[in-house]
């Protein structure tokens, strides 16, 4: 069973539907017991980093996620959910993340030419950096759907794919059982569904 963490951030309808479409049992939950039972966990998120990080800490879900990640349960963050896995974000100030991955979240504007539009929105091709079970059904160059204004920096150790947008922006990360996609696999057509399928299979192996 895939558990999608419900901490009051964003709309989980499409994400839930995408797991159902690949035949995975899926539940949306904030309960520790259910997260413990799950084969793998998705940390979703849209909106502002500070607000989301506060909600995770306020509900105690931050501790639960860290515990479960330490036990080896596959945990994947999507979009803002991926950014929350890092040590900190410089989105309007400096805010602490979960620290499950080394690196920080910074404005795209700092690294791209001024004639590039912000947010980075639309379909962009993946550039592979490192082999990962998450991308086992994906080809280099496959397009996925991005919507973001901040990106994960200083995280060379965990980057498995990037996308070119005036600079190489972190697209997907993996460090053992902790994974993340900056793009939205649930909005990336068949390519995205295959990435979710690969993630679900990582949980089934345990």
């Amino acid at each position: 069973m895939v558990a999608i963490v419900d901490y009051g951030v964003g709309n989980l309808f499409s994400l839930q539907s995408s797991f159902a479409a690949i035949g995975a049992e899926v539940t949306v939950t904030a309960q520790k017991e259910i997260l413990e039972q799950a084969n793998c966990i998705i940390l979703p998120g849209v909106g502002a980093f500070e607000d989301a990080a506060k909600k995770l800490r306020g509900s105690g879900l931050d501790k639960t996620l860290k515990e479960l990640a330490a036990k080896g349960k596959p945990l994947m963050g999507i979009c803002l959910g991926m950014q929350l896995l890092f040590e900190r974000s410089y989105e309007y100030g400096c805010h602490e993340g979960l620290g499950l991955l080394k690196g920080s979240v910074r404005p795209i504007r700092d690294v791209i030419p001024s004639d590039y539009k912000i947010p980075h929105i639309g379909w962009n091709g993946l550039i592979f950096k490192k082999g990962s079970p998450l991308l086992k059904y994906t080809q280099e160059g496959d397009c996925v759907y991005f919507v973001h204004s901040f990106y994960a920096a200083d995280c060379d150790a965990s980057v498995i794919a990037t996308a070119e947008y005036g600079a190489e922006l972190t697209a997907a990360v993996a460090d053992g059982n902790v994974l993340g996609c900056q793009f939205h696999p649930e909005k990336s057509g068949d390519v995205g569904l295959k990435i979710l399928k690969a993630f679900v299979e990582m949980g089934e192996k345990l």
């Binding site: 709309n11 309808f13 499409s14 539907s17 995408s18 159902a20 479409a21 849209v46 909106g47 539009k117 912000i118 947010p119 980075h120 929105i121 639309g122 379909w123 962009n124 091709g125 397009c143 759907y145 919507v147 070119e164 947008y165 649930e186 909005k187 990336s188 057509g189 068949d190 995205g192 569904l193």
Partner: protein, 253 residues
């Protein structure tokens, strides 16, 4: 490299696609869900559902089909039509829409864009604007293009982007339905004025019109059309094949 998006737009009334579509192999050619799945399988990069329902019963049918589409189609879904309040945003976002487009609602209530962007983020708010030349000036029209608001279009678009609109759909009334190509002059003026994605609408009649659009105006991010896709005059897979041949970045299936 970011790709240029191709976006079919479906007008929906009482839960059904308006104007018959002309496809072989679709069980129900008036079903927005089936048509959405079909377009997704052809390589459409995004779908726009435009609700032209007047009744509240019809609104419920619309949100039902939206939910069903979001269960089956995994590309971004933009919803427009009848969006007058933040509650309307809420209603369609809960059913799986990713972006919400506002047109007359923003003219009637200029704070709508700001309030919606504050709650859901800029990326969620799309300004849709119907523009027509009147005595050589670009003017904003309301009520489906029937009423001249007197607003000057470029300053209106700039104002909406400053309020938080994350994308702009520019529909040229002058070229709409003529099938003689997009309104390049109007689109160039908008691209020069704003730094958010611009989506061209109105005037496409054939594949070459999209090629000309993206080659002439590299700042345009997407091309939107309705009937030429519905009637099979332009096949999205063929269009993308041609874009690739012309070295226009495009997503291939």
């Amino acid at each position: 490299m970011i790709t240029k998006r191709i976006i079919p737009c479906l007008d929906v009334r009482d839960g059904r696609v308006v104007k018959g579509v002309n496809f072989e192999g679709l069980r129900d050619v008036s079903s927005p869900v089936e048509l959405g799945m079909y377009y997704s399988s052809c390589g459409a990069d995004e779908l726009v559902f435009y609700d032209i329902t007047a009744s509240s019963d019809g609104r419920k049918l619309f949100t039902d089909i939206l939910c069903e589409t979001a269960r089956k189609v995994f590309i971004p879904l933009t919803v427009g039509g009848g969006i007058n309040s933040v509650d309307d945003f809420d209603r369609v976002l809960k059913c799986g829409a990713d972006k919400v487009s506002v047109n007359s609602g923003a003219i009637r209530n200029p704070s709508l864009i700001f309030e919606a962007a504050k709650r859901y983020g800029d990326q969620c708010v799309v300004l849709s604007v119907d523009v027509k030349r009147v005595d050589g000036v670009f003017r904003v029209f309301a009520k489906g293009g029937r009423e001249n608001t007197g607003l000057e279009a470029i300053s209106w678009i700039k104002q909406c982007v400053e309020s938080g609109a994350g994308e702009v759909v520019v529909n040229s009334i002058d070229t709409d339905g003529v099938k003689g190509g997009f309104d390049l002059e109007m689109l160039a003026a908008v691209c020069d004025a704003v730094s958010v994605p611009v989506i061209a609408s109105g005037g496409a009649g054939k594949i070459q019109d999209f090629i000309t659009l993206f080659q002439t105006l590299p700042k345009v991010d997407a091309g939107l059309a309705a009937s030429i896709f519905h009637f099979g005059e332009v096949n999205i897979a063929d269009l993308k094949e041609k874009m690739a041949q012309e070295n226009i970045p495009t997503r291939r299936l």
